[in-house]
Amino acid sequence: MSLKILSLLKRAFLAIMLTAISCVEPFDKAFPASETIYIVDGRLTDNTSSNYVKLTLSKPVSTSFPTYVPVSGATVKVIVNGETDVSLTETSSGIYKFPSEFKGEVGSSYQLVFTLANGLLFESNLEKMNPASKINKVYHAFDERAIKLPEETLPGQYVYIDTKDEESTIDFYMWDWVLYEQQTYCQTCDRALYYNDASTGPLGECRPLSRDRDVIYDYRCDALCWEIISASKINVMNDQFSNGREIIGRQVAEIPVYQKVGALIEIRQYAINNNVYDYLRLVESQGQNTGGLADTPPATLAGNINSKDDIKQAIGGYFIVAAVDKQLYWLDKQDIPGTLPAIGLLGGRKVNPEPVNPADTSRPPLAPCINSDTRTVNQPEGWFTARQN
């Protein structure tokens, strides 16, 4: 048989296989939670803006996933250098904030201590704040396959940084980011129409359609509004292979093509310690780097919080103390191919504004931009200047 025929056959078979094989698919089995876990998500930096302690209880219920209950009414404090107590106040359910002018100082040590309403006492290890090195350069590149999901890949932009590592110390890095994309739609009504007038409150409301139809309408914002998107991936590194050198081309973010207009990204570089690094590496290998051919066996995520009252109580999360360096970067979208569709800011759903009725020009109404964890009406710091650069 000639090679040509074989090569042709080969292609034909491979084409058949293309349609028949899928490598990763959802596994149709529930793994219900059976353990009650206290979750501590705490962060203290040398910057006043991003410090908080968030307490949540993961409670098993009969369905496959647990419910997450904010832990309210706890007495939360941080002990500075083993001497001074700084009390945190609960600003919303389960979220505790430091006094507004309080920030960590490089060289000081901090311990988180909190007592729940039920009297259970929790303590963190003593955490020392290390100095953060500066981000020297931020840049980005478009990649056809930047976003790797278990079942598909999406195009997006990689954001990279360069930084200089300190030679005299063993350094552990953590990066995260916040992305501000301009949002034009502020309200969504499912099988309903939006009203924002004297009959409603200032936020307006969705009122069910007179005839039930399977339709979702989106309503424009009445002012400038920004969507806040935060990093959900752990990104850590140590300098064991680059001590004292320039760290070049560290990928710190992968941003899907939300919109074709530019956006602002704030990159944060933290100086974490060895224990945080080890913890986050485990989080990374168990939460993100799974699904390969040679995964590492999972292990209990033991953080730096424990309860002397109940040593068997499962506690997740970490109280991270780290100095931070922040850099704003204007993520222009000019390198995105023109033909590529944007996924939008509505969770992948295409915008569907309520059609204009020439007979009733009062509709559709505009909706207010309401400040939340994921949306802000305040122009992000540096929006203008970063854009100019």
Binding site: I21, V24, E25, F27, I37, I39, F241, T300
Partner: protein, 793 residues
């Protein structure tokens, strides 16, 4: 109109032609006794007409065709099938008794010797059988074939080796012409790296291990390359979807010197981009080759020189990335270069001596191309193995002595960064590990009487961990880490830093209960000084190998086994049942998040414990006849216990027993080969096993904007059961002419009923949940066609 006339004419002629009849007469006899066989079934054209032979063994047919296929069957005899041209008045057909035929398959032990030899757990699957079995993508695969035997399993399709009776993959010694192979697979387990065409035979010892073998605790796979033909030039080759192969046997000086060369090379990046979107970034190619020069010096001396080379390259993220080096992709490149020279001296008809020099070199590299740069950062590793051994065999009356000595020198480079022109990455080295393993063995196979045989073997093994090295002494009973270091001792070159060793008894016996059945038993002890340290489901090609030292104790395994063997119906069937118990001390497990890349103190990430494995293997095989094959059932467990101290970081699963990654309690394997004469055969494989253990979450936490699974106990759950059916159709020399050049086709369907067997189940954060996914390697029927040719000059 003209056409219609012609057509009508043709049809009329056709009918006239078909109305003519031909006679077919013949006799059916036994081929040895030459007695007529009465009542044999004779059928024409696969049942178009059929009849029985008369009292003289005769049959007669009047047939409307000039050529027909005649098939003759008789109970207990091998069926006869042939195409004949009529008329034919004297077709003499001689049928062979099934039990007089050669064994088609040999699955446990040398032909008919299984019952008698005082050795247990020796699996000799013939290479011919492996070739007939269905294989994924048409690549003849020794390791996949072995997994059809009881007691041999793996963690799944992408497994970098096999697990023998509850052992880890690195507890097996794989020898190709006496040289060890540290990475036996291509493409991360998808294909065996052995040059299948050049292999004539192999032995897999999973029970009693002869005293001459040492250094590994589970199985020994001893593979031999064919001796090249001394008088005829022969060539064979093939092509499949994956690779091209070629092998040649070249007599250089007739009856004196001959050379065998075999090679295989893959098509670049052959499959992955098409198979799955996930694998689009994957680039892969591989090659392997072997050569053997055989020199018949004189009646008493022969010399053979063998070499083996294997190369792999692939770019992938499915094996993880190096988090602390910034690169645009991860590439793996690894190669094996082995050499062995064997001098065989026949002292007399009762004694001979064999001296072998072995060199084995395995070099895995991780290549990390830097972003926006032409520079590639390389992480080099290397295992250098040199061995000298000599074996004296003496046959004296009822004794059969073997005396051996051997010495191995290991030199391991655990990792070294070659930064190239990188501005970020430092040139970092890890100290070279040096070790010497010495062995002396004595074995005597004694025929006590006509029924009982005993094999007494004793090996003394001694290991020296050599300087230069810096050895940390840690506080006793405390977790080994930087804080618990008491002092560091420096050893110079040539100094012995630590030594281990001891006697290793190897005992086997067999007792014939009667002509066709026997019981056998055995006990083995083996030590292992070199192991893979890898905190992954199955080792990856760049996993680190580590020699024992003061802080990492050698693994010591003891195996006791007992079995019953029986031949039935004139050796057509063989039935066996074997049970074993194996205990291994100082097995290796890992602290959470263990990372050994360029780690100068791997002992700080390692925990040592005990493995207990036990099982029962039941096997029935049919070795002769038109249908051959086997079916086996295995019940086996492999449990680890790691408890170095009371702290969480000193134990796994709170010090309780837990299932090993490859613990699969129930396994059924069946292979069926339907021999359809000399021109083709069909074969089926079926395999079933309990899903392997994995760790499932017992809670979930929301942390860092993602939902993470929260784990407590390791391997607390199991993947769905694994099962699969494969089919192969082998066609030999389809033009049926006896030429010098013969071509064969093998058509295979792997995973015939498209079972999506889970290789792993993993969790990824998705919105407010952590979603389970399953990874399947071959989730659809994999069709393939391979072509092979043979040329004999």
């Amino acid at each position: 109109m003209k056409y219609i006339t012609t057509l009508l004419l043709c049809l009329t002629l056709g009918i006239a032609h078909s109305q003519k009849t031909y006679i077919l007469k013949g006799t059916v006899k036994d081929d040895v006794e030459k007695e007529p066989l009465i009542g044999a079934t004779v059928s024409i054209d696969y049942g178009d007409q059929a009849d029985f032979t008369d009292s003289n063994g005769n049959f007669t047919f009047v047939l409307p065709r000039k050529t027909v296929v005649i098939t003759v069957r008789y109970v207990g005899y091998v069926p006869f099938r042939r195409e004949v041209t009529l008329p034919l008045n004297d077709l003499d057909i001689e049928l062979k008794l099934v039990e007089n035929t050669l064994q088609e398959i040999i699955v446990s032990g040398v032909e008919n010797q299984t019952v008698r030899r005082p050795i247990m757990g020796l699996s000799t699957l013939s290479m011919k059988t492996v070739e007939k079995l269905p294989s994924a993508l048409g690549e003849v695969d020794l390791l996949k074939g072995l997994q059809m035997l009881p007691g041999i399993s793996s963690v799944g399709e992408a497994s970098n080796g096999v697990n023998v009776r509850g052992g880890t993959t690195d507890q097996n010694l794989m020898l190709l012409e006496d040289a060890p192979i540290f990475n036996p697979t291509h493409m991360f387990g998808l294909f065996s790296a052995f040059p299948s065409e050049a292999i004539t035979s192999f032995d897999l010892y999973k029970g009693n291990v002869p005293a001459r073998y040492g250094g590994r605790t589970a199985g020994i796979l001893d593979i031999k390359l064919a001796n090249p033909s001394m008088d005829k030039f022969k060539m064979q080759g093939g092509i499949s979807f994956v690779s091209n192969k070629l092998m040649a046997e070249i007599p250089i000086v007739k009856k004196k010197i001959a050379l065998l060369v075999a090679g295989r090379g893959s098509f670049n990046d052959f499959l992955f981009p098409i198979v799955s979107d996930q694998l689009k970034d994957l680039k892969a190619k591989f090659a392997d080759g072997a050569a053997k020069l055989f020199y018949q010096i004189n009646d008493k001396n022969t010399l053979s020189l063998s070499t083996y080379y294997s190369y792999d390259f692939f770019q992938t993220e499915i094996l993880g990335t190096i988090g602390n080096i910034n690169a645009s992709s991860s590439q793996f490149q690894y190669e094996t270069a082995n050499f062995s020279g064997k001098w065989f001296y026949n002292i007399s008809s009762k004694a001979n001596i064999q001296t072998t020099l072995v060199s084995s070199n395995y070099q895995p590299n991780t290549l990390l191309p830097e972003l926006n740069s032409k520079n590639v950062v390389k992480i080099k590793q290397n295992i250098d193995y040199k061995q000298l051994k000599s074996n004296l065999n003496i046959y004296e009356g009822k004794h059969n002595f073997e005396i051996g000595i051997d010495a191995i020198r290991y030199s391991i480079n655990p990792g070294e960064i070659v930064p190239g022109t990188s501005e970020s990455v430092l040139a970092i080295t890890t100290p070279i590990e040096n070790g010497i393993e010495l062995g002396a063995s004595f074995e005597d196979v004694i025929e006590l009487n006509s029924k009982a045989k005993i094999s007494l073997g004793l090996r003394y093994s001694h290991y020296l961990s050599m300087g230069p090295s810096a050895v940390n002494i840690y506080k006793e009973n405390e977790p080994k880490n930087q804080i618990s270091v008491l002092e560091t001792i420096q050893y110079n070159k040539g100094e012995v830093a630590q030594s281990y060793g001891g006697l290793e008894p190897r005992i086997g016996f067999s007792y014939l209960l009667n002509e066709s059945s026997s019981i056998k038993g055995g006990y083995n002890l083996a030590r292992q000084y070199l192991q893979v340290i890898s905190n992954t489901t199955t080792p990856i090609p760049t996993s680190r190998w580590k020699l024992s030292d003061l802080n990492i104790k050698p693994q010591v395994s003891q195996l006791a086994s007992l079995g019953y063997f029986k031949n039935l119906s004139g050796n057509i069937y063989e039935v066996s049942i074997e049970a074993y118990y194996r205990k291994t001390n100082n097995i290796i497990d890992y602290k959470p998040g263990a990372d050994f890349l360029l780690n100068p103190t791997p002992e700080t990430e390692i925990l040592q414990g005990v493995n207990s494995s036990y099982g029962t293997e039941l096997m029935i095989s049919k070795k002769k006849g038109e249908f051959t094959g086997w079916i086996n059932y295995t019940y086996a467990r492999s449990l680890n216990q790691v408890d170095e101290g009371p702290l969480l970081s000193q134990r796994v699963n709170f010090g309780q027993k837990y299932a090993a990654n490859y613990d699969r309690p129930h396994t059924v394997n069946a292979a069926l080969i339907i021999n359809q004469g000399v021109h083709h055969d069909f074969s089926f494989n079926f395999t079933y096993s309990t899903g392997r253990p994995f760790t499932s979450p017992e809670g979930y936490i929301k942390y860092s904007n993602q939902v993470l699974p929260f784990y407590f106990l390791r391997n607390n759950n199991r993947l769905p059961d694994y099962h699969r059916l494969d089919f192969a159709w082998n066609i030999y020399n389809p033009n049926m002419r006896n030429r010098k050049f013969k071509g064969n086709f093998a058509f295979t369907i792997y995973n015939l009923y498209a079972r999506k067997n889970a290789y792993s189940v993993f969790f990824r954060p998705l919105g407010n949940a952590s979603k389970p996914y399953k990874l399947t390697i071959f989730g659809a029927p994999i069709l393939s066609l391979a072509y092979k040719f043979k040329f004999n000059y």
